[in-house]
């Protein structure tokens, strides 16, 4: 795949046209949970509800297992996946606690202290990644 100018930003997935195409059915599933009647149907039988959305097997598994980072890697966008999180009673901050692997308390503590610094977080090389 052609390298994109934003590929070297660490810990970040830019939701561009390629991601949007890949994640279309996944994201449409997530946004359906905006409505209570759909949340009720999903919570009653997740597998059956997911049958209506022709997503990949990998995406479907990631939904069922609530693998929040994998969902983003597979084309999910945070504003969509946050609807699935909200259904589970997880708000944005607690979701971030999970995605960063820090846990809810240490993440909240980091935010209270001014957030994650930009220093050391601009380029993948600073994370020891390519």
């Amino acid at each position: 795949m052609t390298e994109k100018e934003y590929d070297n930003i660490p810990g970040t997935i830019v939701f561009d046209a390629d991601k949007s195409r890949e994640g279309y059915h996944l994201n449409q599933f997530c946004i359906s949970l905006r409505l209570q009647k759909n949340r009720d149907a999903f919570n009653k039988n997740e597998e059956a509800y997911l049958d209506a959305y022709p997503m990949s097997k990998e995406q479907r598994e990631a939904v069922l297992k609530r693998e929040w980072n994998l969902l983003l890697e597979l084309g999910g966008n945070i504003y969509y996946t946050s609807k699935l999180a909200a259904n589970d009673g997880i708000n944005f901050q607690n979701l971030a606690g999970r995605m960063t692997g820090m846990g809810v308390d240490s993440y909240r503590e980091m935010m209270l202290k001014g957030g994650r610094s930009i220093e050391g977080n601009r380029d993948k090389s600073e994370w020891g990644e390519d």
């Binding site: 100018e5 997935i13 939701f15 561009d16 946004i31 980072n69 901050q93 692997g101 001014g114 601009r122």
Partner: protein
């Protein structure tokens, strides 16, 4: 004629709306956030705008992935607060100045800004939170003190419109508003930001130095601010910091020379740096 008196830049963090709706704004965590809007609420009362032109983004609420307009102008009579997955906010429906909105839609297209026209649209926290912080608590069965014309911008799917495009759109919006014949006092809001990243492993990124420079540029060098690249927003302000292009639409609709009336900056509100500025057009 209608006239733009001032511009407001303002974050629209959903948790700020939740804090107001659940009555916890006095808590230690929230106190400094709301302290910074005290002066703004007094200022709003004095301004008493007839119309607010409000630039915001939808967070995959009214628009799903089926349709992603870059610029969508609200032309319907009113807009209901949307259920974003945790129930609609208990705030009034937003009422439009419909005649003025259709005048703006027509003027923009003839000025080569080919916006999408929305006659039905629900609005999410991106629009209602800035109204709440600037007006204070407004009961659900009451009315917002001003009419609101919403302009919804895509900043969710990359690429958002460029800062330069946004700045020039602001200029076209001003021409549209100020060619409307009714005598109306208009304030323009640019919302979103400041630095924040909600997703993946770098979530929680905040860049206060960058944000403060951006606030300086809003007052002193809007043209400079309009040249900030998408790559810089993404890298320096987090994947969701790119919302700040919407402030440039507001800024483009003001004079080059403005007076900064008020500024507020606080970290954190949930995952986000809260930024706010009030700029008045110099006479």
């Amino acid at each position: 004629m209608a006239k733009i008196m001032a511009g407001v830049g303002c974050s629209h963090v959903p948790a700020i709306g939740v804090a107001m709706d659940t009555g916890i704004t006095h808590e230690e965590y929230w106190k400094p956030v709301f302290q910074g809007f005290k002066k703004s609420r007094e200022w709003m009362k004095k301004q008493n705008p007839d119309v607010i032109f409000l630039i915001y983004n939808d967070h995959c609420t009214a628009f799903d992935a089926r349709c992603i307009p870059t610029f969508a102008l609200g032309c319907g009579a009113e807009f209901q607060p949307a259920d974003e997955g945790w129930g609609p906010r208990p705030v009034p429906a937003v009422k439009n100045h419909q005649k003025m909105a259709s005048h703006i839609a027509q003027s923009l297209v003839l000025n080569e800004f080919d916006i999408t026209i929305m006659n039905e649209m629900e609005v999410d926290h991106g629009l209602t939170v800035p109204l709440s912080v600037m007006f204070g608590d407004i009961k659900q069965n009451d009315e917002w003190p001003s009419l609101v014309i919403p302009l919804c911008v895509n900043v969710v799917q990359y690429p958002a419109p460029t800062g330069n495009r946004c700045y020039n759109l602001g200029k076209a919006i001003r021409r549209a508003i100020e060619s409307y014949e009714e005598d109306l006092n208009v304030i323009i809001f640019g919302t979103g930001g400041m630095s924040h990243q909600l997703q993946y492993k770098r979530a929680g990124l905040i860049n206060s130095d960058w944000d403060k420079r951006f606030l300086d540029l809003m007052t002193e060098d809007p043209v400079g601010a309009s040249q900030i690249t998408h790559l810089e927003y993404l890298r320096e302000t987090g994947s969701e910091g790119i919302e700040m292009v919407m402030w440039l639409i507001m800024r483009g609709a003001l004079n080059e020379n403005v007076t900064e009336i008020h500024r507020h900056y606080h970290v954190p509100a949930s995952n986000t740096a809260v930024g706010h500025i009030i700029l008045e057009n110099n006479a």
